[in-house]
């Protein structure tokens, strides 16, 4: 039963969706404060390479090394996002070009590849990696075993994070302020909220989560280092935020859906099901669905209702208020 296609695909959807979820939650925080960061892929790769480096070089017991690796990955992602934050918040540069620059700078043919080669990380598999936390007895339960109990700690931590982000945005004063900054920075400024401080903080938080997302690849999903290991997940995460209407709980659904789609094609092929032309559709589906959702979201009447931050992508210039 646990080998049936549906269970396998859902379970691996959760596993593959976890980095998407971390990165999307980070991007969601940044976008809710009005900063679009197209550098997610780059920040993820920097986190991935630095997290992996920590595990290889920091000789400690497995849990300590892994915790340190996650901390280093988050810090590295945060540093990368600081470049973007400085350029678009302080210098008011174009968010689009700056985010792209960040992905080029840090991405598969940039800093992450530089560091990975310089530290010679590609030579060995990870010395430590995240394993499933629950005993085999629970994991072997029908259906819920692989789907609910078959995962590593990062998966469960991401569930907690979804709840925290949701509580933060919808139930706290700070979260209300963030939404004000993203929807109407001028009004927020008049209320005495520092637009720049909020945008910096949330862009940096987004970078840290992207770093964690990257390290999820190198320390849990495929515990090794190769250039461009994230394979475009950062871009999917950006799409996912829109797909989820800027809501954390929907990010989770979307992340697992996209994760499951990613695994669907190889899983079907492994079972000897000949896909023929459908392989083009199954692999393109996440991207095409994102476009469809975007079209639905973009009609201005639905846009407000769905929660798109009104000032997304726009620099805030106090003098032009």
């Amino acid at each position: 039963m646990n080998n049936s296609l549906l269970v396998v695909v859902i379970a691996s959807g959760v596993a593959y969706g976890t980095p998407l979820l971390y990165a999307a939650l980070g991007e969601l925080l940044a976008e809710r404060s009005g900063v679009l960061n197209l550098g997610v892929e780059g920040m993820m790769l920097v986190g991935a390479v630095m997290g992996f480096w920590t595990v290889q070089r920091f000789h400690a017991s497995t849990p300590v090394a892994l915790a340190a690796a996650m901390g280093v990955a988050a810090f590295a992602g945060m540093l990368a996002s600081l470049i973007h934050a400085f350029l678009v918040i302080t210098l008011r540069a174009s968010q689009i070009v700056s985010g792209l620059a960040l992905t080029i700078f840090a991405g598969a043919a940039g800093l992450s590849s530089y560091l990975g080669n310089d530290f010679n990380l590609g030579a060995n598999p990870a010395r430590a990696q995240f394993h499933a936390v629950f005993p085999a007895r629970l994991q072997n339960l029908p259906v819920v075993g692989p789907i609910i109990f078959g995962h590593n700690i990062l998966v469960y931590a991401s569930w907690v994070l979804v709840v925290l982000v949701w509580l933060y945005l919808s139930r706290t004063r700070l979260g209300l302020n963030v939404r004000a900054v993203g929807d109407s920075p001028a009004a927020a400024d008049a209320m005495g909220i520092s637009v720049a401080a909020y945008r910096y903080a949330h862009t940096l938080a987004g970078g840290a989560l992207a770093g964690v997302a990257g390290a999820t690849f190198t320390l849990a999903i495929t515990p090794q280092w190769v250039d461009g290991i994230t394979g475009g997940a950062g871009w999917i995460a950006i799409a996912l935020v829109i797909f989820a209407f800027w809501r954390p709980e929907l990010c989770m659904v979307g992340a697992y859906f996209f994760g499951a789609l990613q695994d669907l094609t190889p899983e079907l092929q492994a079972r000897g099901i000949h896909l023929g032309p459908t392989v083009l559709w199954t692999s393109s589906l996440p991207y095409l669905m994102t476009i469809v959702v975007l079209v639905l979201v973009s009609a201005s009447s639905t846009r407000r209702w769905l929660g798109a931050p009104a000032a997304l992508g726009m620099p805030y210039v106090r003098e032009e208020r």
């Binding site: 540069a93 689009i96 210039v317």
Partner: protein
């Protein structure tokens, strides 16, 4: 001029720090880089191989970004242009030397393919106000899957189905010899091959410059870029402009794809480590931004960045770590973006006086 030149200098300085911090000799890395890009025998020709597609994708990005239409789908439009141009080349080409008709057909087909692919986000933007950034980006992935699919997953028109090699590894048919693009040899440093595509890129840059700065269309598109509201009050047809700008942008990127088939690869390169690893579409945005979206400036910038890319392809070693090219490109772009602000707000450093003058508003 000051900003791009300043950002280049700053980028090399900052990347030098990265090199030093990781225990490399920055000066010898740069010497190697310059040598591989422009100095050594055959380097200029190789640089043109990288610079030609970058000129096309750079022009594509400049054409759109200048109108504040953020087409970042140059990558996918280039792939689709390569696919359609290859179809035209296969269909019309024959034996013998390069002949005008199949080559012209490839040029047209490449433009049309790229333009149609770009019109998808264009139409969505014009009629549903859908953000073109994400849609054009998503289509890059779809185009990449399409390219791979045509060669690896199906016995398509493009795929080589006979012969020994084809049974071992899926590959594309070869471009017929009459459809391969000719080049002109310049007698410089042992001969530099100037591909037809490079000539077409120069022509396209001049045409684009003329269109944008000397015609009514260009003026209206510029107004639209600055203020949609002003354009609408003036009675301009905004939807048509968006569609036209996207089509032009896509056609330029598609032409870059046609040039890949005709000038350089002489096949449809679907190898995931081939054309798709060069990221010409994304680097084109770097080129355009550094050229400040001026079509004529795109050409020299493409040449410079092409040199960098070429050096990155040929050099791999202790002195020249992989990824350095991306680091340098990224820093160039960061500093160009930061420098832009200094120009826009005309920041001047003056000694504080007794009565400070009122701050100049931007």
């Amino acid at each position: 001029m000051a900003v791009p030149a300043g950002s280049l200098v700053f980028a090399f300085f900052a990347s030098g720090l990265v090199l030093l911090a990781t225990g490399h000799n920055a000066l010898s890395s740069y010497r190697q880089l310059l040598d591989a890009a422009f100095g050594s025998k055959g380097a200029l020709g190789e640089t043109l191989v990288s610079a030609t597609p970058l000129a096309f994708t750079g022009l594509a990005a400049a054409a759109a970004f200048r109108m504040r239409i953020f087409n970042i789908g140059g990558e996918g439009q280039l792939y689709v242009g390569a696919i359609t141009a290859m179809a035209a080349g296969l269909y019309f080409g024959g034996n013998g030397g390069p002949s005008a008709f199949p080559i012209a057909a490839m040029v047209v087909a490449g433009c049309v393919g790229g333009a149609l692919w770009a019109l998808i986000p264009g139409i969505l933007r014009a009629f549903f106000r859908t953000n073109e950034i994400i849609t054009s980006l998503m289509l890059n992935y779809v185009a990449a899957y399409l390219l791979t699919y045509l060669i690896f997953n199906t016995e398509s028109y493009w795929r080589q189905t006979t012969g020994f090699n084809a049974s071992v590894f899926p590959t594309s048919k070869d471009l017929p010899s009459s459809a391969t693009w000719p080049g002109a040899t310049i007698h410089l440093r042992g001969g530099v091959l100037l591909p037809l595509g490079a000539g077409l890129a120069v022509l396209a840059a001049v045409l684009l410059w003329f269109l944008y700065s000397r015609t009514r269309f260009g003026f209206e598109a510029q107004v639209l870029g600055d203020s949609v509201r002003a354009a609408r009050y003036a009675g301009m047809r905004t939807r048509r402009k968006i569609l036209a700008v996207m089509a032009i942008s896509g056609a330029l990127a598609g032409l870059g794809g046609a040039s890949q088939d005709g000038d350089f690869r002489h096949m449809l390169d679907a190898d995931p480590n081939g054309l798709q690893r060069q990221y010409y579409g994304y680097s084109g945005i770097v080129v355009a931004a550094l050229a400040r979206y001026n079509p004529l400036a795109v050409l020299p910038v493409a040449f410079l960045i092409g040199g960098l890319q070429n050096a990155g392809n040929t050099l791999q070693g202790a002195d020249f770590p992989a990824g350095l090219v991306g680091v340098i490109q990224g820093i160039i772009l960061f500093s160009a973006l930061g420098g832009e602000l200094l120009v826009r707000y005309r920041v001047r450093f003056v000694r504080r006086q007794a009565a400070a003058p009122a701050p100049e508003s931007a």
